[in-house]
Amino acid sequence: MGFMLKQIVRLILMLWGITVLAFVFFEVAQTTLPSEDQTGFTHFENYQIFMSSMLEGDFGTLHQGGEPVLTEFFHKLPASTELIFTAIIIAWLVGLPLALLAVKKPMGITDRTIQLIGTTIYSLPVFWWGIILLIMFATGLEWFPVGGRLDYIYAIETVTGSALIDTLLSSKVYAQEAFWDAVYRMVLPVTTLAMLPTAYVTLQIRAGMEEILQHDYMKSAKARGMSIRRILWLHGLPNAVQPVLNSMSMQFSMLVTSTIIVEFIFSWPGIGHWFLILIQRQDYDALRGALILIASMILLLNTTTDVLRYWSNPRLRR
């Protein structure tokens, strides 16, 4: 139980730290800007006002339109989560088998090819690759739509905010049709988004497996007459996955960065797109709220994976 308590305390401390960091950042910024409304408060008083309003759930309002940032954030969140989670699932589904395929014969032809493709993907500017996919498959071959989440002809009631789940839940006659439209529209953005994490998972697990194969326990398992496949999947993988799970927070960060670009290119109405608009409007009040909310989301996810990792790893759990 000590672990859980520690994690919760840590999470609260870090959440508080984020508010301070965001506050300081924008406070410093505003002193450099020609400000319209000098309130005459000290920084500390400003912080008190900021914190107390935030604890009441007020993360600021949009300069244009005047909606609360919090509502707007949760309104945009499902679209982004849909992209990110599909990308992560694809990354693991594709990356794991590829890594195992590569490590079957280290430095063989397959392994080298997989590594080369991985390095190429690492070098790929996401924004360029997104446009290339658009040129080739959307405007060129016309296989996929250019952007958006769902065709406007479908009036699907919002339940969870996720287009995939909502269309499945919907009782409209065209619900199924709408579901496939939603899937269809996700193909290109998700492909663009999933490239980098797929390469990451593949290369990291491959490297981990290669190292683990040198361990004595793999050798002795082999000597006891176990098949290669059994050794790779049952003995190597659980240990090779650990460091990749360790770097989950980095992966989330990486994904959020790509998501902003992908949402911009494919006009995807998610957090990233919204954030860019706020930046263009220079809506600092809303930006501060959005920054805190995004960082808190990432922190929450990190803590969750930490806890999951703790429960799945016997070496950590004593």
Binding site: M14, G17, I18, L21, F25, A29, T32, L33, T119, T120, Y122, S123, L124, P125, V126, F127, W128, W129, I131, I132, L134, I135, T139, G140, S249, F252, S253, M254, V256, T257, I260, I261, F264, I265, F275, L276, I279, Q282, Y284, L287, L291, I294, A295, I298, L299, N302
Partner: protein
């Protein structure tokens, strides 16, 4: 009486740099990367001489002209022209110069500040280090693009501001890798021995520890270069980076996006040159890392 004299005297040891090169040479992919990278560097350094036109020279009679090898292409515009009739080949050459030199400056600046902070923080240790590293860790929960976008939002768009933004977002990585390397080294017996011998302060830091963490810094440096190029061009692409008349790879792609369907070459060619550049940098970076990692095989 022995018939042979002892033939196994001490081996001639190589200087570390010589040894590094000796190992690096054996890595074919890394050597290939280095070759391509040197070629690109040479071309970009000489680009004012090599570029046939000014980056912003407009040819009204040749708007959206195809690349020279296609049917309606014109030989005087090797890679074709954009919607304003500007020669893409010249723009790639001159834009690449901007992107690459900015990226190098960015990494250099981030490394300077990040490494210094990391050194000092880990060397002082205790509460100071704990607080500093937690703040940095907190800072790293903000995705890099969000951080740099915010900085640009406040400072305003432009090449210099985007460079500041990217180095700001990159700082924590240098801090972290320096600190990690320092903490590993400070656990080793030689450090304890040096302290027992009476070494302290700046001397302990610079003479005892610093030489042993240069590898880690160097690896981080080489890995950051490609990230810096990607982030600077991303900001350029989104319109927050270099503003016209300055040319920059990301900005070229950002401008071409609106007519990418009519003129795909305006997307393909600048992007491909970016890809090749970053790819070769990554190959070299991987080569450097692998060489350092396999260093212990070199006796």
């Amino acid at each position: 009486m022995a018939l042979y004299i002892d033939r196994y005297g001490e081996q001639q040891l190589m200087h570390p740099i010589q040894g590094f090169w000796h190992l690096y040479k054996t890595n074919n992919t890394a050597m290939f990367g280095l070759l391509i990278l040197s070629l690109i560097a040479l071309i970009l350094i000489l680009s004012p001489l090599l570029a046939p036109y000014e980056a912003n020279a407009q040819f009204i009679d040749a708007l959206l002209s195809s690349p020279s090898w296609s049917e309606n292409g014109r030989i005087e515009f090797l890679f074709g022209t954009d919607d304003l009739g500007r020669d893409i080949f010249s723009r790639i050459l001159i834009g690449g110069r901007t992107t690459l030199s900015t990226a190098m400056l960015v990494v250099f600046f981030a490394a300077l500040v990040g490494v210094l902070a990391g050194l000092i923080s880990s060397f002082i240790g205790g509460w100071f280090d704990k607080i500093t590293s937690s703040v940095i860790e907190l800072f790293m929960t903000f995705p890099s693009l969000i951080t740099s976008l915010l900085v640009v939002a406040i400072l305003g768009p432009g090449l210099v501001n985007s460079a500041i933004a990217v180095s700001f977002a990159m700082l924590p990585h240098f801090f972290k890798s320096t600190r990690n390397a320092m903490l590993t080294q400070m656990k080793k017996p030689y450090y304890a021995a040096a302290r027992l011998d009476g070494a302290r302060g700046i001397r302990l830091l610079t003479i005892t520890l610093l030489p042993n963490i240069t590898n880690a810094i160097f690896i981080q440096f080489s890995l950051s270069l490609s990230t810096a190029i990607l982030e600077i061009s991303t900001l350029g692409f989104l319109g927050f980076g270099a503003q016209s008349p300055l040319t920059e790879w990301g900005a070229i792609l950002g401008e071409s996006r609106s007519y990418s369907y009519q003129a795909p070459w305006t997307i393909w060619l600048p992007g491909l040159s970016m890809l090749v550049t970053i790819f070769s940098i990554n190959l070299v970076g991987d080569g450097i890392r692998e060489t350092f990692e396999s260093d212990h095989h070199l006796r």
